[in-house]
Amino acid sequence: MKPAGFDLACPDTVAEALEVLTEHGGDARILAGGQSLAAMLNMRLATPKVLVDISGLGELSSIAEARGMIEVGAAVTQDQLLRWPGLPAQPLLAQVLPWVGHYQTRQRGTVCGSLAHGDPSSELPLALALLGGEVVLASRRGRRTVTAAAFQTGMMQTAMAEDEMIVAARFPVAGKGAASAFAEVGPRRGDFAIVAIAAVADDSGVTLGIGGVADTPAVRHLQWLNDEGLADALNAIAWDLRAGSDVHASAQYRRTLVRNLGAKVIREARDALSQG
């Protein structure tokens, strides 16, 4: 289908973008890469009156590491982050990014756009939640920093107000002596995952981030246990997340994936840890 009509604002600065958002509120939407939003518009699942195109804003186009965080501007594409020379500072991002959409969509789709879209099965919200990252929001009223846990409030729902936009996301760099792993199962590589799980392990235990089951990415910390103990813990998590059935998968299949993918990423992260 074709999108309904909309005005397209092409601000030259963030300040101008915020003016448009303030004026139009809920009738306006930020357009960055458009790899989720333009599809929703084509299907008329969204019919904003104004799109604010921030894809060309230089002040949102940088990636930088500072104070233990990798800060990614709102116009940075997933592909740009994947090719960023500093990425080894957070191996989980290097593991997750090749699974975000496809080669073709990553070249336009933005990191912050994925976070703003808030799909429960998408990889970047999962990574942000697991790593304990944060999102920087701006409006005419000022800027505020929101933790990943506070930012994503539900399925495709965030804590952003109607006059706010994401200007950057911050992913913590990997801690010393930490290792990570990621795995997902979907109908086709690049499609929405049915279940996606990431693990970050260190001497104290392993933290899992689980996407595709609950409305928002779930984060669970486990102490190191023997294999049987970990299997029991994964089984408890699988039930606790209250998986539902839909056209893609049954609740039972999702629980099976949580157990099996969970065991796989824990094993991989532990192996990486022991290889140091």
Binding site: G5, D7, S55
Partner: protein, 167 residues
């Protein structure tokens, strides 16, 4: 700030396959529709219109992009390349010739998009192997070939361009 009103035509100019083109587009006009209807270049195919099938993939400033997920007015001033660029002078290029040799197409609907993605891959990643080719192809749906011939054609061209093999 450039502000384009809905339901009005706005002038759009960009470079298409090395030549300047221009036309009028509403903000909501998809680049794919602009290419086909306003410019009359129908090599780019429109399949699902929500970024899943990959048939409409073109290259914008060299990057493989869904032309159904970008508006024509966003192409202003850029360099757009479509399947029409490949057979310069009416001769199939090496990738197209390899597609024919390996039976990498049957109905041909998906082919223009796949050619544009693989063109970028082959240019930028001369060392790409089968796994990488298959990963790039996950962004395309082909319901005829089973992908086997497409993968073989891409690997053939990668090898040939490295000088390892005659095509």
């Amino acid at each position: 700030m450039r502000y384009l009103k809905a339901d009005a035509g706005h002038p759009v100019s960009f470079t298409l396959n090395g030549r300047p083109v221009s036309g009028m587009a509403e903000p909501r006009t998809l680049l794919a529709d602009f290419l086909r209807r306003e410019i009359g270049q129908t090599g780019t195919h429109v399949g699902c219109e929500h970024g899943v099938c990959g048939a409409c993939t073109v290259r914008i400033d060299g990057r493989a992009t869904r032309s159904c997920l970008i508006y024509a007015v966003q192409a202003e001033g850029r360099s757009v390349e479509t399947v029409e660029a490949l057979a310069a002078g009416g001769e199939l290029n090496d990738l197209q010739a390899a597609f024919r040799r390996h039976h990498a197409l049957q109905c041909g609907f998906c082919t223009p998009g796949i050619l544009m993605s693989l063109s970028q891959l082959i240019e930028e990643e001369p060392d790409a192997g089968e796994a990488r080719v298959r990963e790039v192809l996950t962004g395309h749906l082909c319901r005829c070939t089973g992908y086997h011939g497409i993968v073989a054609a891409a690997l053939d061209v990668l090898a040939a361009r490295k000088g390892n093999k005659d095509v």
